[in-house]
Amino acid sequence: MSYSSKLTIGPILFHWPAEQKRDFYFRIADEVQVDTVYIGEVICGKRAPYFEQHYEEVAERLSAAGIDVVYSTLSEVMIRNDRQIVAKMCADESIEIEANDASALQHLVGKKHSIGPFLNVYNEWTMSHLAHNGATHITLPPELPGEAMDTLGDKSKELGVTLEVQVYGRIPLALSARCYHARAHDRVKDNCQFVCEEDPDGLNLSTLAGEPFLTVNGHSDLIPYLPEPYA
């Protein structure tokens, strides 16, 4: 049996100037054939306010082009500011939400929503629980083995849940409370002065032997290169 797969573009993980982000999404609306685009800041609550003013116009433009828009929530929610951002987004009944941590789940119980790759869905038990609470679409963690994915595929059909996996681009590997971008510049998160904006593709770390190792992006780390054969 064959299925018609949909193509999605995940949220921008890096800190770009708001206008650049807006124009990027406008170009997607004008030039790219995809089914869904995820917007929303998933990495850092400090970055989030910059783009908020553009959500509406970007969503309108994408929708007008026939593209579904989903708002992704922060992947790590800790301080009051993070909590308020997630609460506000989840309270908006007019938009579709992708939950990336359990605090978003708390706001979304009983409402239709998606589950993002930062929320651990490794097995059919978890999938059933989330579907029961209103999840209708789940992006699986990049490290999930193929065999497990098969099992979840079968379960998803039974539950009426659609599944998504990342097939291209750098893979987010880890989250932390500490901002490693700020640390690389001898600062801390509270006085970061948004130094991450200097690296639109992240900050590359290499090992002492000179091998490319990881890319730092605020308080997350990513695989530093594109997987073969796309590199």
Partner: protein, 332 residues
């Protein structure tokens, strides 16, 4: 101020007995399989040992908290099912769970079994904790090591369950349950296969000038000159290069250990119910020394004294300590 519970590591049955004898109010331990986030070879409990450990601890008035804190991959949930059922059958005082699915299984099939939310669940806000409490009747959350004492107090005031906080031992830099660095480097997953920077993938290479390179998988994690004290190559404690810095630097954290001795009274006043010591991979001698010291400290504070705890520094990694996020926002 309520007397906090001292929760101590039991990597082996012998360590369990040592920790209980040294004054642990509770020990935490796991089975010898993938259900346990510290599945190091030579450690942990068979089912027979677990049953014996529970009996030993209960005879001495201590509790046993069973860590079933990994994320079962799809189609392989049976192992986790057996672990939960065995734990309940052996009378453990609580199951420490991280995966939503495991929490669901345990709460549905064993509604009277006390459940704690593992640090591996990474529940770092009142809403996230509330979600687990509402969904699975979680009685205690083990907080991620990323919050200040002030923030812990604020969370305490908003949630319906107890708080357990780490006070001593190794401090991982990445959010627990959300780190695939080991998988990227070694192909072994921390979340599913239960190890971080596994010894089986560690290499030490010495050159003619006696410089020692430490590697995890194929990646160099650090390099030490002759005479420098070489640390274990944990990814987030290594030195790396970045274009704008001339010298290699600890991109994530230096090789330090968590020691919250000086913040104990503050944590107790913030409403922390249980104080947790890391180190299931540590020796019995270590467990005895650390547990005895903290037993004295907690009892001392409760009696209004100011106990002497400087000896604990000798037991920290590289003899260097930090109060981590607990001490203030500048750690982030």
């Amino acid at each position: 101020m309520i007397q906090p519970e001292l929760v101590c590591p039991a990597g082996t049955p012998a360590s369990l007995r040592t920790a209980v004898d040294a004054g642990a109010d509770a020990v935490y331990c796991g089975f010898q399989n993938a259900t346990n986030a510290r599945n190091f070879s030579g450690l942990n409990f068979t089912t027979t040992e677990m049953r014996g450990g529970v009996d030993y601890a209960h005879d001495k008035g201590a509790k046993v908290l069973l860590a079933i804190n990994t994320f079962p991959p799809g189609g392989k949930t049976d192992l986790w099912k057996i672990a939960v059922d065995d734990g309940v059958r052996f009378g453990v005082d609580a199951l420490i769970v991280a995966d939503i699915g495991v929490a669901e299984y345990a709460s549905h099939n064993h509604p009277d079994q006390r459940l704690h939310l593992s640090v591996q669940a990474g529940a770092s806000s009142a809403e996230a904790i509330q979600y687990y409490c509402d969904s699975f009747n979680i009685k205690r959350v083990v907080l991620p090591r990323i919050l200040t004492v002030k923030e812990i107090k604020a969370i305490h005031d908003e949630i319906p369950c107890e708080i357990e906080a780490f006070i001593f031992g190794n401090i991982g830099m990445m959010a627990e349950g959300r780190c695939s660095l080991t998988n990227y480097i070694t192909g072994v997953s921390t979340n599913m296969d239960d190890v971080c920077s596994p010894a089986s993938h560690v290499k030490y290479e010495e050159d003619k000038a006696r410089n020692l390179t430490t590697k995890l998988g194929d990646f160099t994690v650090d390099c030490f000159n002759c005479g420098e004290n070489a640390g274990y190559p944990t990814v987030c404690k290594g030195r790396y290069l970045v274009d704008h810095r001339e010298e290699p630097y600890y991109a994530f954290e230096e090789p330090v250990s968590l020691n919250l001795t000086s913040l104990l009274p503050d944590l107790m006043q913030a409403g922390v119910t249980a104080l947790k010591i890391e180190g299931r991979q540590r020796s019995r001698a270590y467990v005895r020394a650390v547990v005895s010291a903290f037993r004295k400290a907690v009892d001392g504070y409760m009696a209004g004294e100011n106990p002497e705890l400087s000896g604990l520094l000798a037991l920290t990694e590289g003899h260097r300590e930090t109060s981590g996020a607990f001490g203030g926002k500048r750690w982030r």
